[in-house]
């Protein structure tokens, strides 16, 4: 039964899912890498990006301006999250901060529900990009956009954090906040920046995946969980690690959905992930020196 085109289809599906998970994981990485906060509201930015783009688009705005406006609004919400919630509690422990972001996520979800209702929304593929048939397998028209966006993000972040002084300054903030201040880095501004960056990234991802996955008020939390798993399995300290983790998760899901006994694939996919976790106790890729 198993032919090559089927295998190829599973692979494509894995890449597609992997990129989505990785892109969300990258948002987590940005905030974590700068502030040490696990931002459980990252998925909500993805939701906002998708929902806002749909809202503007269905109101008659063209795609690009819709997306831009969505990103700007999401960035403002990200700034708000930092200023109103994280900043006042910046001296609290990591776990307190995590649950602050969770509370924010709940409230955001509630607001989205009361504004947009429960219906799932979709967008057409960007500029009607056609499906591609490849040796009997199908690549959805939107998939190249998703993969491209993720690639761009990871390359950009990799370069920014690894090779620019401002990127290094951002990393320094999480590494030793007081030390960062002693060399003149404003940890506060950097943290604000990281939240705005993560929110914008999330919003872009949200808009780009909507034609594939649809969006609704409640998609944020499940996406956060997937992104979190991706980031942790790969090593949340490095952008490349997050990509690797996302791919591992996406592939595990797609391949077990395709090849494993139907009904058990959820167990198997995550089981594979746990094995990866346990065999690489510090994540697939780790930043040396720090856990």
């Amino acid at each position: 039964m198993l032919d090559l085109s089927a295998i190829l289809q599973f692979f494509i599906s894995g890449v597609n899912l992997g990129c989505i998970y990785a892109a969300i994981g990258l948002g987590l990485f940005v905030v974590y890498g700068v502030t040490g906060v696990l931002n459980l509201a990252q998925g909500e930015f993805v939701m906002l990006g998708g929902m806002l783009t749909v809202a503007f688009y269905t109101a008659g705005t063209a795609l690009v301006p819709s997306l831009l406006m969505a990103v700007i609004i999401a960035a403002l919400v990200g700034a708000m999250l930092y200023r109103l919630i994280i900043y006042p509690a910046r001296n609290s422990s990591g776990s307190t901060l995590v649950f602050l972001t969770l509370g924010f996520a709940f409230a955001t979800e509630g607001i989205a529900l009361s504004v947009w209702g429960w219906e799932f929304k979709s967008l057409p593929s960007f500029w009607g990009s056609p499906n591609i048939q490849l040796w009997g397998a199908t690549i959805f028209g939107q998939t190249p956009w998703v993969v491209g966006t993720t690639l761009l993000l990871v390359i950009g972040l990799f370069f920014f954090f690894g090779h620019t002084i401002h990127g290094k300054a951002l990393r320094a903030c999480a590494d030793e906040p007081l030390g960062a201040r002693t060399v003149g880095i404003s940890t506060d501004q950097m943290a604000l920046f990281s939240f705005v960056l993560a929110a914008s990234l999330g919003a872009v991802v949200g808009a780009v995946i909507t034609p594939l996955t649809m969006t609704g008020y409640g998609v944020g939390m499940p996406l956060t969980i997937k992104g979190l798993l991706a980031a942790l399995v790969g090593g949340i300290n490095r952008a490349e690690g997050v990509i690797l983790g996302g791919m591992a998760l996406g592939m595990a899901e797609a391949i077990s959905a395709g090849l494993m006994p139907s009904g058990y694939h959820g167990v198997i996919a995550l089981g594979i992930l746990i094995v990866v976790f346990l065999s690489r106790p510090r994540g697939l890729l780790v930043a040396p020196g720090k856990v």
Binding site: L38, I85, P88, A89, N91, S92, S93, G94, S95, T96, F99, L100, L102, G103, F104, A105, F106, A107, T108, E109, G110, I111, L113, S114, I225, L228, L229, L232, V233, I236, G263, Y264, G266, V267, L270, G271, L273, I274, F277, L278, P281, R282, G283, V291
Partner: protein
């Protein structure tokens, strides 16, 4: 000097807690007399959550091991109790103990693997485990009833008869909770408690130092993981017999996160925090159910969610150390924390 000595003695002997504990027990035992039937119902839930949260506080607040998978052990307890009592007709009490031991054993195996992991990765694995557990329950339909649920779980018997469900459950749950509280308090104010705190990488512990002082860090971490699992499993068994019907959604990530919220809101520096956290979260929920229809009317779910999120944020902003920190603040001479 004398005063310092006395204080340490008081702390160690649990004298500091004894009065509060007695008062707490008395108040709890009299709750059903003053609160209406619904108050008792709510308190059963508070008790069940408190037990699981207490285990998590030992695990996360003391030993510094994040777990987003307490639902696994809550579920293990519930399903073991549910399946064995409906299939084999064994005594629920016996099964409860067997399930707790089994959950502890599972936790030891899992814990052995987990202790090698660093930092947040533990959170990731426990989260994944929780997802696996739920998928497994759904997949093993013949055994567990799948997503539809496992019905017709018998009540906890007392002697020959099964007393009025809610009131009886209330007393069972709270007696168990108080016993576990005493156990936890003893634990944290002892050699074991200090060993646990010494390996707490979330809050000021250091594994190297702990080891040099003779602490077998793997053993302590695994043991406390098992203790957390046993607490959760006991609560799960009680829950199964109390509700009579269980389904996998009750043991999902949602539950584990809720328990973690309770731990944080309550305060992770003391087992008492579990009761404060569970009490607050459950009462906020109930209060919103009561109040929101009057404020907005109609379908209030979305507004309840907004309010719930905002209350969570506000509480953590004002009391980042959790509700327990109020109590600490009331003790002026205590300079620590």
């Amino acid at each position: 000097m004398r005063t310092v000595k006395e204080k340490i003695r008081a702390l160690l002997s649990g004298r500091e807690h004894r009065m509060v504990l007695a008062l707490f027990a008395v108040v709890l035992m009299t709750v059903p007399l003053v609160a209406g039937p619904y108050g008792v119902i709510v308190m059963v839930d508070v008790g069940l959550y408190s037990i699981v949260t207490m285990g998590l506080i030992l695990l996360m607040g003391f030993a510094g091991q994040i777990s987003l998978g307490q639902g696994v052990f809550f579920g293990l307890g519930a399903y073991m109790s549910g399946i064995i009592t409906t299939r084999c007709g064994l005594s629920p009490w016996l099964v409860l103990l067997v399930a707790a031991v089994a959950a502890g054993a599972v936790a030891i195996v899992v814990g052995r693997a987990l202790v090698r992991l660093r930092g947040l990765i533990v959170a990731g694995v426990t989260l994944a485990l929780n997802l696996v557990f739920c998928s497994l329950v759904v997949s093993l339909r013949d055994l567990t009833g799948g997503a539809t649920g496992l019905p017709l779980i018998p009540r906890l018997p007392l002697g020959g008869f099964a007393p009025s469900n809610t009131l009886f459950s209330y007393y069972v749950v709270w007696i168990v909770a108080i016993l576990l509280l005493v156990f936890s308090l003893n634990l944290v104010n002892s050699r074991t408690g200090r060993a646990l705190k010494s390996v707490n990488l979330l809050a000021g512990g250091s594994e190297d130092t702990a080891q040099v002082l003779g602490v077998d860090i793997i053993r302590y971490k695994v043991q406390v993981f098992a203790v957390g699992a046993i607490y959760a499993s006991i609560a799960g068994s009680l829950y199964a017999h109390y509700t009579g019907c269980i389904e996998p959604g009750a043991f999902g990530v949602h539950f584990s996160v809720l328990v973690a919220i309770m731990a944080i809101i309550g305060g992770m520096t003391s087992p008492w925090g579990a009761f404060l956290g569970a009490g607050l979260i459950v009462s906020v929920n109930e209060a919103l159910r009561e109040v929101m229809p009057a404020v907005v009317g109609g379908s209030t779910g979305a507004y309840e969610l907004i309010a719930y999120g905002s209350i969570l944020v506000a509480t953590l902003l004002f009391l980042p150390q959790g509700l327990m920190s109020i109590w600490r603040r009331l003790q002026p001479q205590e300079r620590f924390r």
